[in-house]
C-alpha cells in the first residue's frame, strides 16, 4: 500500500500542539514558501550550484517532515543527498516528480485546514 500523502498522526499531533488556528497559519506559510524553494532547484541544477540546490531541498524536506508529508520528505531528502555528495548528474526527472508530490501534499493540507 502506498504511503499516505499526509501522515494524519503527525499532522493531528502538530495541530494539537499548535492549536487549530495556528496550524492554518503554518500551512499557509508552507504553501507560500515551498513553491519558491522548489523553483530554486532547476536553475541551481543548471548552474551546477550544489549549495543552493542542497539548501532548497533541505528546507522542503524539513517542512515536509513537520507536516507528515512522507513522500515529499523522502524525495526532498534524496535530492539533498545528491547535492551533498555532488551527484547532481543523477537528478534526472526527480524535480518533476517532487513538484507533483508537492501539489498533491498541498491539496491535502488545504483540505485538512478547510
Amino acid at each position: 500500500m502506498a504511503a499516505p500523502v499526509i501522515d494524519r498522526a503527525v499532522f493531528d499531533n502538530l495541530k494539537e500542539m499548535m492549536g487549530a488556528d495556528y496550524i492554518v497559519e503554518l500551512v499557509n506559510a508552507f504553501l507560500e514558501e515551498a513553491p519558491t524553494l522548489i523553483a530554486q532547484l532547476r536553475p541551481a541544477l543548471e548552474a551546477k550550484d550544489a549549495d543552493t540546490f542542497r539548501r532548497a531541498a533541505h528546507s522542503v524536506k524539513s517542512n515536509a517532515s513537520t507536516f507528515g508529508a512522507t513522500n515529499l520528505f523522502e524525495q526532498a531528502r534524496e535530492l539533498e543527498f545528491m547535492a551533498r555528495e555532488n551527484r547532481l548528474g543523477e537528478v534526472g526527472n526527480r524535480i518533476e516528480i517532487l513538484e507533483e508530490t508537492y501539489r498533491r501534499a498541498a491539496g491535502v493540507l488545504k483540505d485538512l485546514c478547510a
Partner: protein, 388 residues
C-alpha cells in the same frame, strides 16, 4: 523571588520552522524574538540582552557555524548559551557545533518535551552564571569601596620640614593592603612622627587591622601630650605600648599582629627616637653606603600584652638618608621564586638621590624583578633624607 521570562532568539531562514519554534517557546512562557539569517541574529544579539539562542545550521549568506563562531569571539555574547537546531541526519554538524562551544542540540522535527528539557537545562546554567556574575560584581564594588576608604587612612600629603625630604610609597598585592605608613607633625615645623608597619597576612582581614593599628598609633601619639607625655622617647613608648596592649588583650584570639617601626624625629637636630617592634631594620645610608641598621627593640605588636618595648635614640646627620621598607620588598619573588633580597635592596640605596627619586628607582627595580610573577605581598617604602 519573581522569575522574569527568559528572552530567547530563534534563528532560522525557514519560515515554518521559525513559526513552529516561536510558538512552542511562547507556549512555554518565554519572550521570543526571531531572526531570518545570521547577520540579523548578530544585530539583534548586539542590540538587546538575550538568555539563549536557538540556531539553525543551514542558512544562506551566514550559516549557523559562522554565527556561533562570531558569538564565541564576542566578549559580550560568548556566554549566551546556543542550542543548535538540526535534522537527525546532521548529527555530525551538531557535534562540530558543540565542539565550537554550542551548549546543546535539538533534533528536527522537534519534540516539545525534549525542547523544554534541553532549554531548561541550558537556561538553568545561564541563570547560575548570571547570578555568579552579579555576586562577583557586588564583591568587586565592595572591595573598591574598601580600597578607597583604606587609601584615606594613608596621609594625603607628607610633612616637608626645611632641610628634609620625606617620601613614601605603598603598592598593595591585593585590592586592600595590610601595610601602611604614616607621617605627621607633632610640633609644627619641627617634630615629625613617622610609622611604617606590616600587619600579618594580606587582604581584607589584614586591611581591617591596618586601620585599627594606624588609628591607635595616631591617636596615642597625638594624645600623649594631653596625658602629660611630652618627651619624644616617652611618647613613642607610650604609643606602642598602648597599641600593643589593646590589640593583644582585646583581639588576642584573632592572632593578628603587626611589625611596626615608629619614630619621632626632631628636624632641628636630626635626633630620632624610635621603637622597632619586630620590623625589618630600617637602614641609615651615608656617602659610603649603608652605615647603620635600626634593629629590633621589641617583639611584633599585638601578640603579648604588657611586653616591654625599648626606645633607641640616634642622630641622622646632614647628608644621611633613612630607608625603611616592609618585607614585601626584600622578599619579592620573581617567576623562578627567587627573592629580591636585602643585600640587593641595600646596594640600591644612594644618599645623593632625592628621596622621591630613590623610591622610584627602587620600585622600578622591584617591578622588573617581579615581572610576570604575582606580587604576593604588599610593598611599602619610606625614605627620609637630611640635606647635606
Amino acid at each position: 523571588m519573581t522569575l522574569q521570562p527568559d528572552r530567547l532568539l530563534v534563528v532560522d531562514d525557514n519560515k515554518v520552522n521559525r513559526m513552529l519554534l516561536v510558538r512552542s517557546l511562547e507556549q512555554q512562557g518565554h519572550h521570543v524574538a526571531a531572526a531570518v539569517n545570521g547577520r540579523e541574529a548578530l544585530d539583534l544579539l548586539r542590540a538587546d540582552p538575550f538568555d539563549l539562542v536557538l540556531l539553525d545550521i543551514e542558512m544562506p549568506e551566514m550559516d549557523g557555524y559562522q554565527v556561533l563562531s562570531a558569538m564565541k569571539q564576542d566578549l559580550k555574547l560568548r556566554h549566551i548559551p546556543v542550542i543548535m537546531v538540526t535534522s537527525v541526519e546532521e548529527i555530525e554538524s551538531a557535534i562540530r557545533c558543540i565542539e565550537m562551544g554550542a551548549e546543546d542540540y535539538l533534533p528536527k522535527p522537534f519534540n516539545p518535551v525534549l525542547l523544554r528539557a534541553r532549554l531548561n537545562a541550558s537556561l538553568e546554567k545561564k541563570h547560575l552564571r548570571d547570578k555568579e556574575q552579579l555576586y562577583l560584581k557586588s564583591l568587586e564594588r565592595e572591595l573598591e569601596i574598601g580600597r578607597e576608604i583604606q587609601a584615606s587612612f594613608l596621609p594625603t600629603s607628607l610633612p616637608q620640614a626645611p632641610g628634609w625630604e620625606i617620601a613614601a610609597s605603598l603598592k598593595s598585592a591585593k585590592e586592600v593592603a595590610g601595610d601602611f605608613y604614616d607621617a605627621f607633625y607633632i610640633e609644627p615645623e619641627r617634630k615629625i612622627c613617622f610609622v611604617i608597619a606590616d600587619v600579618c597576612d594580606k587582604g581584607v582581614g589584614a586591611a581591617l587591622f591596618m586601620t585599627l593599628f594606624r588609628s591607635l598609633l595616631r591617636f596615642t601619639i597625638s594624645a600623649a601630650d594631653v596625658f602629660g607625655e611630652r618627651s619624644p622617647d616617652a611618647t613613642v613608648k607610650y604609643a606602642i605600648t598602648l597599641t600593643n596592649n589593646y590589640i593583644a588583650s582585646t583581639h588576642g584570639e584573632t592572632g593578628m599582629f603587626a611589625t611596626i617601626f615608629v619614630g619621632m624625629l626632631d628636624t632641628a637636630t636630626g635626633i630620632l627616637h624610635y621603637v622597632n617592634a619586630g620590623h625589618e631594620s630600617p637602614l641609615i645610608v651615608n656617602s659610603s653606603g649603608v652605615s647603620r641598621s635600626l634593629d629590633r627593640t621589641g617583639p611584633a605588636a599585638g601578640i603579648i600584652a604588657g611586653v616591654e618595648f625599648e626606645v633607641q635614640e640616634i642622630q641622622i646627620r646632614p647628608g644621611e638618608l633613612l630607608f625603611a621598607y616592609t618585607d614585601g620588598a626584600s622578599d619579592a619573588l620573581n617567576s623562578s621564586d627567587e627573592p629580591f633580597g636585602r643585600n640587593r635592596l641595600a646596594a640600591l640605596l644612594k644618599n645623593s638621590a632625592p628621596a622621591e627619586m630613590l623610591l622610584y628607582e627602587v620600585s622600578i627595580q622591584l617591578e622588573s624583578h617581579i615581572a610576570e610573577a604575582d606580587q604576593f605581598d604588599d610593598i611599602t617604602l619610606v625614605a627620609i633624607r637630611r640635606a647635606g
